[in-house]
Amino acid sequence: MPSLLFYLFALITLGFGLMVVLARNPVTSALSLAMSFVGLAALFISLDAFFIGTIQILVYAGAVMVLFLFIIMLLDIKAESDRKTNVAAIVGAIVLGSVLAVQIATVSAAHHQSDLTLNEAALNLVAAGNQMAATDKDLPTISKDLKAGILPDTKLMGLALFKQYGFHLQVMGLLLMVGTVGVVVLSKRDKEVAR
């Protein structure tokens, strides 16, 4: 993954991220958020997290952005009239953002692995494959791919999710259930308008 591509995608992510904040028209900011997520997905893929990258595009760029656009259209929210821009808020925001960024930058520089490149943190797939084959027999496909030197990211992700974090998945189910019920309760049209 040549470094050029990394900088391209980083630029896309941050550029469109800035567009989201600065855009007057909510639709433009929604779409620029989608593009920013796409850039982000690319970064995920550069980190060999293919499953998360695709999920990012499917769920975030797809479902969440569509939801936002749908709501913006439904409520027909006009572009923000710039008569009363809250200068104090903007100045505050800039200060907050820059100070936070500086803090995070200084700390990330101090991280013990900060100067480790992707190649140095190489994955040793074959060894993992043999080790996997040795430990649990009933997952031949994963160990076969590993031995073949390709990273079955989605399969490993499935393994982690359903084997290690099965309980949490159920709780996520419960959470989504509550989310939907919440949506129904909160947005059902009432006979007369709320006082």
Partner: protein, 631 residues
């Protein structure tokens, strides 16, 4: 909790002490039930006490413990008596004059509706006075010192509806209290120096060979202050120079009160106590000189004031003040004699002897004036009397005897002998004071003859004086008895019989005799010539009439030093102490609180900003600040 066992010799003094107290208590509690009987009860108790004091006259010296007061381990403050010649003599005076005054006031207070309360207070006074006389240690002395102050407060303020009486009793109590302030300091200093033993025997032992002995050499200032502290108690009680202002005002009380308290007994308590602790005063010569000089000055000043008084009781009050000055001077002079000139003290004490004689004729004079006032329908101004010689012969005769004795008519009156003994001591110890004494004697003669002439001689000046008739028998009888006692007390044998502490008459220097007789003649003749047949006072010396303006000076001092200072301090306290300790923190808390309230101002944007800022602060604090602090 049974009080400690009592030995038998204590039964008499205990009865003597407790009887009047129980009478006063029963009158207080049961005055509705007893109604008239309480008066009889109080007179009976006075009579019994008189009999007991007679029995005590020939009892041997003893120091029984009467009642426990405070007992903690070996630390003990108790009401323990000390019976010796001085207390026996004084006891006789107190109970005899007390009984006579009781009888006199039976008549004088007949139609007063507060009569029951009057006799209750009288019994309370008898209790406190007996306590002082019998006191065996300084604490007991202090306790009864204040109780006497209380009873004088009650008696002076008997007619409390009169604003003047209300003010007078308050003034008396407060002045006494100021005296007690000094007295307590003196006691505490002696307590500290003598390792906690302030009984008279213990103090005498301390001064003889105990801790106080070398103290007198090494810490003279400490001992002087202690002596002056004790003296201040006497100044408050016997109305000496700085604190004398309350005695003239005390005349607001009924006359029997003036007779008993402000002539014979209470004011004499100060002198009695000084004589009791004479060894303390002898221990520091300069205290003795100060005491002597204050006594002298008081005597002179009071005499000067007396010359211009028109109220019969005020004249007598100032004469008492003057005579007390004499006695205190005598105490001082004798102390100088002993400590400076190292004369060893004789058996008696001139001050006690003068106190002894003065008690009788001054009480008689006061009762006489009471009879006159009663006869002239409560008229007290001598210029409204006159020519009472014919109307009230018995009172005239007794009054004459009293006046003579007070003036000190040579050889035939007791007053002369006692005054003589004082002037004798004065002559040797301190010459200037001797001449002041003589001058006072002259003035005494002058104002007594002035009063005598105006009241008794000449023609009656007003209607009431014209119709004055002799007072009823119940009031005249005590006069006669007292006159008899005055005459008897000139004779040596009678006095020795009544343990009157007569000093031996070392042959005084002849000039003493001559000077006093000359003073007498000059004073009385000038007085007689000046006032015979006059209807108004020829002399008009504002300074003396207004009592050297002491009352006004003290009023200013009180107003400035106390009331205005109190007002300022009150303001300061409210502003600063209350302000800083209470209102300031409350103000700061309110200020911070209202500032903090802006944080929750309702704007969502402000909240997100604050939350973000909060996060940054936490990061900055935790990541960058605290590690450096090595917290």
């Amino acid at each position: 909790m049974t009080p400690p066992a009592q030995d038998t010799t204590a039964s008499l003094p205990t009865l003597l002490l407790m009887l009047p107290f129980l009478t006063a208590l029963s009158i207080l509690l049961g005055h509705k039930l007893l109604k008239g009987a309480s008066v009889v009860l109080s007179i009976a108790s006075a009579a019994i006490c008189f009999v007991i004091s007679l029995m005590l006259l020939d009892a041997r010296d003893s120091a029984p413990m009467l009642l426990p007061f405070i007992e903690i381990g070996k630390f003990r403050i108790g009401l323990d008596a000390m019976i010796d010649q001085q207390s026996r003599g004084m006891m006789f005076i107190v109970t005899s004059i007390g009984l006579l005054v009781h009888l006199f006031s039976l008549g004088y207070m007949k139609e007063d509706e507060g009569k029951v309360r009057f006799f209750g207070s009288l019994s309370l006074f008898m209790f406190s006075m007996t306590g002082i006389v019998l006191a065996g240690n300084l604490f007991m002395m202090f306790i009864f010192w204040e109780l006497v102050g209380l009873s004088s407060y009650l008696l002076i303020g008997h007619w409390f509806e009169k604003p003047s009486a209300a003010e007078a009793c308050k003034k008396a109590f407060l002045t006494n209290r100021i005296g007690d302030f000094g007295f307590m300091i003196g006691i505490l200093m002696l307590f500290m120096a003598n390792h906690g033993d302030v009984s008279f025997s213990g103090l005498k032992g301390g001064f003889a060979e105990g801790p106080l002995h070398e103290m007198t050499q090494t810490h003279t200032l400490f001992m002087t202050l202690a002596a002056l502290g004790i003296f201040m108690g006497a100044v408050g009680k016997s109305a000496q120079f700085p604190l004398h202002v309350w005695l003239p005002d005390a005349m607001e009380g009924p006359t029997p009160v003036s007779a008993l308290i402000h002539a014979a007994t209470m004011v004499a308590a100060g002198v009695f106590m000084l004589v009791r602790c004479s060894f303390v005063i002898e221990a520091s010569p300069d205290a003795a000189t100060i005491i002597a000089w204050i006594g002298g000055l008081t005597a002179l000043m009071a005499a000067l004031m007396a010359t211009q008084q028109n109220d019969i009781k005020r004249v007598l009050a100032y004469s008492t003040l003057s005579q007390l000055g004499y006695m205190v001077m005598a105490v001082g002079l004798l102390a100088i004699q002993v400590s400076v000139n190292h004369h060893e003290a004789g058996p008696g004490h001139p001050a006690m002897f003068h106190l002894y004689t003065h008690a009788f004729f001054k009480a008689m004079l006061f009762l006489g004036s009471g009879a006159i006032i009663y006869a002239c329908h409560h008229e007290q101004d001598i210029w409204k009397m006159g020519g009472l010689m014919k109307h009230m012969p018995v009172t005239f005769v007794t009054f004459a005897i009293g006046t003579a004795s007070l003036m000190g008519v040579p050889f035939i009156t007791s007053g002369f002998w006692s005054k003589e003994s004082i002037l004798g001591v004065g002559f040797e110890a301190c010459r200037p004071l001797f001449w002041i004494g003589v001058a006072t004697a002259m003035l005494t003669a002058f104002y007594m003859t002035r009063m005598f002439v105006i009241t008794f001689l000449g023609k009656p000046r007003t209607e009431s004086a014209h119709h004055a008739i002799e007072a009823p028998i119940i009031m005249v009888l005590p006069l006669v008895v007292l006159a008899a006692l005055t005459v008897l007390s000139t004779f040596e044998s009678f006095n020795r019989l009544l343990a009157a502490m007569i000093p031996n008459h070392a042959e005084d220097h002849p000039t003493v005799m001559i000077a006093s007789i000359a003073a007498l003649i000059i004073g009385s003749s000038v007085g007689f010539l000046l006032y015979r047949g006059k209807n108004s006072d020829p002399l008009n010396i504002k300074l003396f009439a207004n009592k050297f303006y002491f009352d006004e000076i003290y009023a200013v001092i009180v107003k400035v030093l106390q009331d205005q200072l109190a007002w300022i301090v009150n303001g300061l306290e409210r502003m600063f102490v209350d302000g800083i300790v209470a209102r300031l923190p409350a103000f700061i808390a309110m200020r911070i609180g209202s500032a903090a309230r802006i944080l929750t101002g309702g704007h969502l944007q402000a909240y997100t900003f604050l939350l973000g800022a909060g996060v940054l602060m936490v990061i900055y604090l935790v990541v960058f600040v605290l590690p450096q602090l090595g917290h």
